[in-house]
């Protein structure tokens, strides 16, 4: 459970940082005021949707962190052997990276009001993300045909479960990205689509980071790191 506690500690520091700016030490009973004293800014200048997505990503982060916590705790038990990673996962990683980069490009071209580049970038991002999902399905098939089925070993079970969960999140993102792309192709102005593209990019980068972490996890690179942490703790 230490992984989730570290995650929550990180989140707590963000919350504390935010709260520190909210005048929590003020004495509201002494501050009955008049209108002109009312600050025009009671909320964040960020768009509400962005804050909403940020909060949602914190929840998604907690979800994956808990899966990873469970992974490490289960890993310590006797019957564990690691799963070989199909090489197609490298290609999938590349596809997801391209998808993320393309969205970033779409974002900047929307800012510059460059509609044609934006459309192309969105399309590339959408296509590569679908490519990622297909690649993941291919990786599953490869593992199954090599005899690494779901219930054989906890490492297999975790692999299918966590990649499946990540895939579902990508799929959900694809729905939104698809909708945005469609709207842009129906000639919505870049200015209008700006926020939607921003949000998609934010989500995409986050899911890319999640994927890199779980990829490292299954490749076993994280193990040494965890081992060091364990020794530090004990």
């Amino acid at each position: 459970m230490s992984v989730i506690l570290i995650f929550l500690a990180g989140l707590a520091s963000i919350i504390i940082w935010w709260m520190a700016q909210q005048r929590l030490t003020s004495k509201p009973w002494l501050e009955a005021g008049r209108a002109s004293e009312i600050s025009a800014i009671t909320r964040s200048p960020l768009p509400t949707a962005k804050i909403g997505l940020g909060v949602f990503l914190a929840v998604v982060g907690a979800l994956f962190t808990l899966f990873i916590s469970a992974y490490f705790m289960r890993m310590g038990l006797q019957d564990w052997w690691a799963i070989p990673l199909p090489s197609v996962l490298w290609a999938n990683t590349a596809a997801l990276v391209i998808s993320s980069v393309a969205l970033e490009k779409a974002k900047s071209s929307a800012l510059q009001n460059d509609a044609s580049t934006m459309k192309l970038a969105l399309l590339i991002s959408f296509a590569t993300a679908i490519g990622f999902l297909l690649g993941q399905a291919f990786a599953w098939r490869e593992l199954v045909s090599a005899g690494y089925v779901l219930a054989d070993n906890p490492a297999n079970s975790f692999f299918y479960m966590i990649t499946g969960m990540h895939g579902l999140h990508i799929l959900g993102g694809l729905l939104v990205l698809g909708r945005t792309t469609l709207r842009v192709w129906q000639n919505e102005t870049p200015g209008h689509a700006q926020l939607s593209i921003d949000l998609c990019a934010m989500y995409w980068h986050f899911m890319l980071i999640v994927w890199l972490i779980i990829f490292a996890l299954f490749a076993g690179w994280a193990n040494d790191f965890v081992e060091i942490c364990r020794q530090l703790l004990s």
Binding site: M1, I4, L5, L8, L11, A12, I15, M19, Q22, R23, L24, T25, S26, K27, P28, W29, E31, A32, G33, R34, A35, S36, I38, S39, A40, I41, T42, R43, S44, P45, T48, I51, G52, V55, F56, A58, V59, A62, L63, L66, F67, A70, M73, R74, L77, Q78, D79, W80, L150, A151, P154, S157, M161, M165
Partner: protein, 592 residues
């Protein structure tokens, strides 16, 4: 209070954000059924939660009948008894208390108390309710599935939860339960995002965080906690569903059943307990914090006095919320753990008593020399304080490892958590309903019926749960279908069980009076007017009651003060609404 004074001398800075574009429903369906208005969603959430809560109430009756009169009601066999326990616990904790406090009161009060037109993401808010309803239906489907609902206990501990010895373990019961939980969490996340982001972004001008009523602070903090804690239950449910349906061994150790070796092997039931309680303990405070917040407001309004130590109250809510994430293993003392861990978790558990005690002192000090009106909301609020202190004190017993080990799995634990997490929040829920019903419907609930309801419920709850502590100390185990005569169950203890059962029947029946009152007053209640309690918070300052779509007429209110200006010296009335500018300042400005 309806019109916001805005003369030339009193310039209000322009809103930095455009007024939200409200979704305006066009048909009966989108107004009352698939509504995106938080107030309608709140009522939908509340009615659904209360309806399923009544099912859980009947289940508790059945359990008590079995305990009081073992062998008389033959249809309550051991399997059914366990199914009743499980469904009662799960419904009460999650589908009633969580849904009612956050989905019900959260939806109704957050936009109104903050001076917003609606939640920030109304569509997701609507989806949240419908997914919640689906979760409830899936849960109820368990009663009709072959083999009935799961009987694994509300904690659903593996391996027993998915074995054939447990009712529903190898049938549909456990699958439906886990699916329902997963749905609930998805639905809640949609709603929870709304509550949090509305508090962050939807506040009226002038409504700084430190001017928010404590109700909002409680709901806000509880929602943040729920958003971070429910994923743990989600992960545990998904993994157990994999174990049960797909044959993985996340939680399932090598195990033989009926002489046959099962295909499972190597899994860790303790892992499930960690995940479950990582959700389960914050859950206690997810229910308690909104109750803390609401009760602070009830006491302040009905004692006509500002809340004592507002800042401390806010900080205590936040500190309790943070601490509750590092105490989960105190539910696992008897599961076996490193003694150092036990020591750590006992310490953190007892530390929570400090901010909690601060809150209790502040409530009492708010009452001190207040102008206490013993209205029904106030009665329930007072009932809450007493009950919460009682339940909290036994919590100090159980938080210690050495005391917990012998008392664990006895009726003492049952009595403890029913006092602190059952009766106490329910007191607040009733108080809140009596308090806000006039705003929701425009009519008062009947006073006489309300008083009878309060006294029967309050005294009855004590008559049920006080003797249960004693039974627990005798050693009477919980979760036993039939104890029989033994050292832990002498004839005197059996008489006590009969007494508890009779009391439970009476208290349960008193709730019918409440429901009747709510239905009767809807048409025939006394007209409430806009602000019957003469309260300061914004929901009482709406132009019409019940508040219309969009809450506040043409212009949103502007907030000039905190929520607790009661009995201010020199003020013409004993309360000053939050949207009333300071008269001194105003006159000074007029003079210049």
């Amino acid at each position: 209070m309806v019109n916001i004074p805005s003369s030339i001398n009193d310039p209000i800075p322009p809103a930095e954000v455009e007024d939200v574009e409200l979704y305006h429903p066009h048909s009966w369906w989108t107004t009352y059924v698939f509504s995106q208005d938080a107030k309608v969603i709140a009522i939908q959430y509340s009615l659904t939660a209360i309806a399923i809560g009544l099912v859980a109430l009947v289940l508790s009756w059945l359990m008590r009948l079995q305990l009081g009169f073992p062998g008389v009601f033959t249809f309550i066999d051991a399997d059914r008894y366990y199914q009743f326990i499980t469904m009662h616990g799960m419904i009460m904790v999650i589908y009633l208390l969580t849904a009612l406090f956050l989905g019900g009161f959260g939806n109704y009060l957050i936009p109104l108390m903050l001076g917003a037109r609606d939640m920030v993401f109304p569509y997701a808010n609507m989806l949240s309710y419908w997914i919640y309803l689906l979760a409830v239906l899936v849960l109820v489907a368990g009663f009709f599935a072959p083999g009935g609902p799961t009987g694994a206990g509300w904690t659903l501990y593996p391996p027993q939860a998915v074995l054939s010895g447990t009712p529903g373990g190898q049938d549909w019961g456990i699958i439906l339960m886990l699916s329902s939980l997963i749905l609930f969490i998805i639905g809640f996340t949609m709603g929870g995002l709304n509550y949090v982001v509305t508090v962050l972004q939807g506040r009226a001008r002038g409504m700084t965080l430190m001017r928010m009523p404590l109700t909002i602070w409680g709901i806000f903090t509880a929602t943040v906690m729920a958003l971070l804690a429910f994923p743990a239950l989600f992960v545990a449910s998904v993994m157990m569903l994999f174990d049960r349906v797909l044959g993985t061994s996340f939680f399932m150790p090598a195990i033989a059943e009926m002489g046959a070796q099962l295909q499972y092997g190597g899994g860790s039931p303790i892992l499930f307990q960690h995940l479950f309680w990582f959700f389960g303990h914050p859950e206690v405070y997810i229910v308690a914090l909104p109750a803390f917040g609401i009760v602070s407001d009830l006491i302040s309004v009905h004692a006509r006095k500002n809340i004592f130590g507002y800042r401390m109250m806010v900080w205590a809510i936040v500190v309790i919320g943070a601490l509750s994430f590092v105490v989960w293993a105190h539910h696992m003392y008897v599961s076996g753990m490193n003694p150092n861990f036990g020591f750590f978790f006992a310490t953190t558990t007892l530390i929570i008593a400090v901010p909690t005690a601060i809150k209790v002192y502040n409530w009492v000090l708010t009452l001190w020399r207040g102008d206490i009106h013993l209205t029904i909301p106030m009665l329930f609020a007072l009932g809450f304080i007493v009950t919460f202190v009682n339940g909290g004190l036994t919590g100090l017993f159980l938080g210690n490892v050495v005391v917990d080990v012998p008392l664990s799995d006895t009726m003492f634990v049952v009595a403890h958590f029913h006092m602190v997490m059952g009766v106490a929040p329910i007191m607040v829920i009733f108080g809140a309903i009596y308090h806000w019903y006039p705003k929701i419907t425009g009519r008062m609930l009947d006073e006489t019926m309300g008083r009878v309801h309060f006294w029967v419920t309050f005294l009855g709850a004590y008559l049920i749960f006080f003797p249960m502590h004693y039974l627990g100390l005798l050693g009477a185990p919980r979760r036993y279908h039939e104890i029989g005569e033994s050292v832990v169950n002498p004839p005197s203890a059996h008489d006590l069980n009969v007494f508890i059962t009779v009391m439970a029947l009476i208290v349960g029946a008193a709730q019918i009076l409440f429901l009747f009152n709510a239905a009767w007053s809807l048409r025939r209640g006394k007209d409430a007017g806009g602000n019957p309690w003469r309260a300061t918070t914004l929901e009482w300052q709406t132009p019409t009651t019940p508040p219309p779509h969009g809450n506040f007429g043409k212009e949103l209110p502007v907030v000039y003060r905190w929520a607790y200006d009661y009995s201010v010296p020199g003020a013409p009335e004993d309360f000053i609404p939050q949207n009333e500018p300071d008269p001194e300042h105003r006159s000074r400005e007029h003079a210049t």
